[in-house]
Amino acid sequence: MATSTTTAQVDSNHPTHLQHHFVSSEQQFDASKMGMWLFLITELLLFSGMFVAYTVFRVWHPEVFDHSADLLDWRLGGLNTLVLLASSFTVALGIHYIQIGNKKATVVNLIITIVCAAIFMTIKYHEYTGKFEHGIFPGGHFHPHEAFAQYNVPYAAQFFSVYFVMTGIHGFHVLVGMGLLTWLTIRTARGDFSPEYYTPIELTGLYWHLVDIIWVFLFPLLYLI
């Protein structure tokens, strides 16, 4: 027989979260995860453009980049790194707890994740305003004040452009993540998720890990070397 027909249809009382074009929950979950990973790869490629710009300008002006990095406070950056790493841990814990059906612990862990993200953004806010106060703006507006005249060399503006653009776009992604996590917290508290279906939490967790890992690369490249 060339093609035969079998009944591989979904039965009439399928779980509410199962969408009609999928055959099973497993297929839906697998497909969702694969889709999310592909999206994360595109995000990585988006950031990679900026990493390439950083590399190119650094190779051309290594001393300027070295010197300008002194203006960034590695302790604040390091604290931010620890905060984000902790938030990745708590979001993973949140997923673990929903997998075993502990809704309350999931909500608590998601809230801690959001708080960590807020701490990250607050520290970044302080760093940015600190820079602005000293006249250090991206690119064409780069006019460091008297005390920092020694940093006002050609191509230092490029370093700070790269710094602001990379951390800025990263910060935007943190904000989006905070929004998603808030929405997830509300939905979890409402009882939308269970060990059978927690896909949105899993996907947002993956997104959050990407945001974290990008920072893990940004921090040494901008602050430490």
Partner: protein, 579 residues
């Protein structure tokens, strides 16, 4: 009505009866087109087939807009100096022609229309993996293109579609709209690609192994990989260009300490793989057409399938061949040139395999096959001239001349557009339930073929004689060739308008199509025409044969008895039509 053969099994009875009931009066049966005709059901659909048709309409409009701009360019070039417009307008017309044709027309074209419609059915799925994201990608595309077009309200977009810096940064507000629009439209491409990759991985029917996938699906898969990996790079390039205009970040503008060639690297790192996004789906359509209209499995299935993946991969390594004269090092240029030659190999493998498919096949000339044969000729010219341009010494002479313009029109139009037309004619009965007029189809194909060669072959000559591209004015010795090219564009336009005309006419007055007018054996032909509602299949297919196993498809050719398959090469009668 196709013959069901002398002996019928219970399966055949089932197929016959369901086919007979719905085929007898296909227009009256409940199908995906007529089950709900409200505007809302169309605009909010999550059905991949309806989304494909919405893309068809929008993409066709984009083609019309881009085409009219092209006709205007050619009219201007009838005489040196001013013909119908001044130089400022001319620069905008050719820039918009390029931008609309690349971003609004050709990048979505085959994947968004035929990929969306045909691919899920060919793998035996009910829909794509993420139907709502599919709808979203359509709206994102529309919004992106609108934003790009809005740029015209704020100033002159006269940078060419490549908007090289630093000039593109000096045109003012329009660049903000163009960059935003391209960024947004890029997301449509990414979302479609992502959707297709997950669909092909996760939603194949039982028995549909990777080695049984139709080659169109392999082509869409390779294209989707390129879409997902390459498009983000143009995204970030647009963001950086936007920020440079708004914040003067100094990445591309030399006056601010940046490097304009860096823009070219970023731009072409996407735009070269983008041309493979344009051509790989066309290769997929070609495989389907060649198999069906030669009644033979495509020769070297694995080679053709894997060559798509090879082209997708190699396509990321050759962007520098657009920049041989931009000042990159000789070493880089040599490497890019060598890899450019390499890409010719998997491409050549495909062309040889298609020709080999026809050898000892039962070639049946119908309109889609005429387009496929045109593709072989036109794309080969385009491909060869691409390799020629990859030769460093030659490129120094030919870069930024009409030779390049002719090359890419041969591959993009002579390749992708011809294949898209072939695919649309091939799947038209399945999509609409109607047949178009075959005679008009052949006439239009002929007009397109003649018109296309007249328009663009002359441009190879113009280019090799030194006519630069994007020039408004030119030396008098080029005038005759330009005029020949312009007349060719009129013949080409006539052919294309004729296609639009008879296709639209067929919707209202065309004969109802049978389920399988071409007697093809991929899964989309096993159900009634047009596809019924609510599902693509009455029950999930279980696949036990390859996609081009004509000898194993009894429902197409009928059994001879005792379960044995027919030995004789089946005769090709005209497609059966309903009265």
């Amino acid at each position: 009505m196709w013959s069901l053969g002398k002996r019928k099994t219970s399966f055949m009875n089932e197929m016959a009866s369901s086919a007979a009931v719905t085929e007898a009066n296909p227009a009256a049966s409940v199908n995906y087109l007529n089950y709900d005709k409200s505007i809302k059901s169309w605009l909010l659909t999550v059905d991949h087939k309806r989304i494909a048709l919405m893309y068809l309409v929008t993409v066709a409009l984009a083609f019309l807009a881009g085409g009219i701009l092209a006709l205007l360019v050619r009219i201007e070039l009838l005489t040196p100096g001013k013909t119908i417009m001044d130089v400022q307008t001319y620069n905008q017309v050719f820039s918009l022609h390029g931008i609309i044709m690349v971003f609004a027309f050709i990048i979505p074209s085959i994947p968004a229309i035929l990929g969306n419609f045909v691919m899920p059915i060919q793998i035996g799925a009910k829909d794509v993996a993420f139907p709502r994201i599919n709808l979203l990608s359509y709206y994102v595309y529309v919004v992106g293109i609108i934003i790009v077009l809005l740029a015209m309200l704020f100033g002159r977009v006269d940078t060419g579609w490549t908007f090289y810096t630093p000039y593109s940064e000096s045109i003012g507000t329009p660049i903000l709209f163009v960059t935003t629009g391209v960024f947004v439209a890029g997301f449509a491409s990414i979302l479609t690609g992502l959707n297709f990759i997950v669909t092909i991985h996760k939603m194949r029917a039982p028995g549909m192994t990777w080695n049984r996938l139709p080659l169109f699906v392999w082509a869409i898969y390779a294209t989707s990989i390129v879409q997902v990996l390459a498009t983000p790079v143009i995204g970030i390039t647009m963001v950086l260009l936007f920020l440079e205009r708004v914040l003067s970040i100094g990445i591309f503008d030399p006056a601010l300490g940046g490097d304009p060639v860096l823009f070219q690297h970023f731009f072409w790192f996407y735009s070269h793989p983008a041309v493979y996004i344009m051509i790989l789906p066309a290769f997929g359509v070609m495989s389907e057409l060649m198999a069906t209209f030669s009644r033979r499995a495509v020769m070297g299935y694995k080679f053709v399938a894997l060559s798509s993946v090879a082209i997708a991969f190699l396509g990321f390594l050759v962007w520098g061949h657009h920049m041989f004269v931009s000042g990159q090092s000789a070493t880089s240029s040599i490497i890019f040139s060598l890899i450019t030659y390499l890409i010719g190999i998997p491409t050549g493998i495909k062309v040889i395999n298609w020709v080999g498919t026809m050898y000892k096949g039962s070639v049946w000339i119908q309109t889609p096959m005429l387009y496929a044969l045109s593709f072989l000729f036109l794309f080969s010219i385009g491909g060869f001239t691409g390799i020629m341009l990859g030769v460093l010494g030659v490129d120094i002479h030919l870069h930024d001349t009409y030779f390049v313009v002719a090359h890419f029109h041969y591959v993009m139009m002579g390749g992708t557009v011809i294949a898209a037309l072939g695919g649309i004619h091939y799947w038209w009965p399945k999509m609409t339930g109607k047949m178009y007029n075959e005679t008009l189809g052949r006439i239009a194909c002929g007009l397109i073929f003649v018109g296309f060669n007249m328009t663009f072959f002359t441009q190879f000559i113009l280019g090799s004689q030194g006519m630069p591209r994007r020039y408004y004015d030119y030396l008098p010795r080029f005038e005759h060739l330009h005029q020949l090219s312009t007349v060719g564009s009129w013949v080409l336009a006539l052919g294309l308008f004729l296609v639009a005309g008879y296709l639209l006419f067929s919707l209202k007055r065309g004969k109802n199509a049978p389920a399988n007018p071409w007697k093809a054996v991929t899964l989309e032909w096993t159900n009634t025409t047009p596809i019924p509602h609510p599902h693509n299949f009455t029950s999930a297919p279980v696949v036990t044969r390859g996609p081009y196993d004509f000898h194993l498809a009894p429902e197409v050719f009928g059994y001879t008895g005792d379960g044995a398959v027919a030995d004789a090469v089946p005769t090709n009668d005209a497609p059966a039509t309903q009265a």
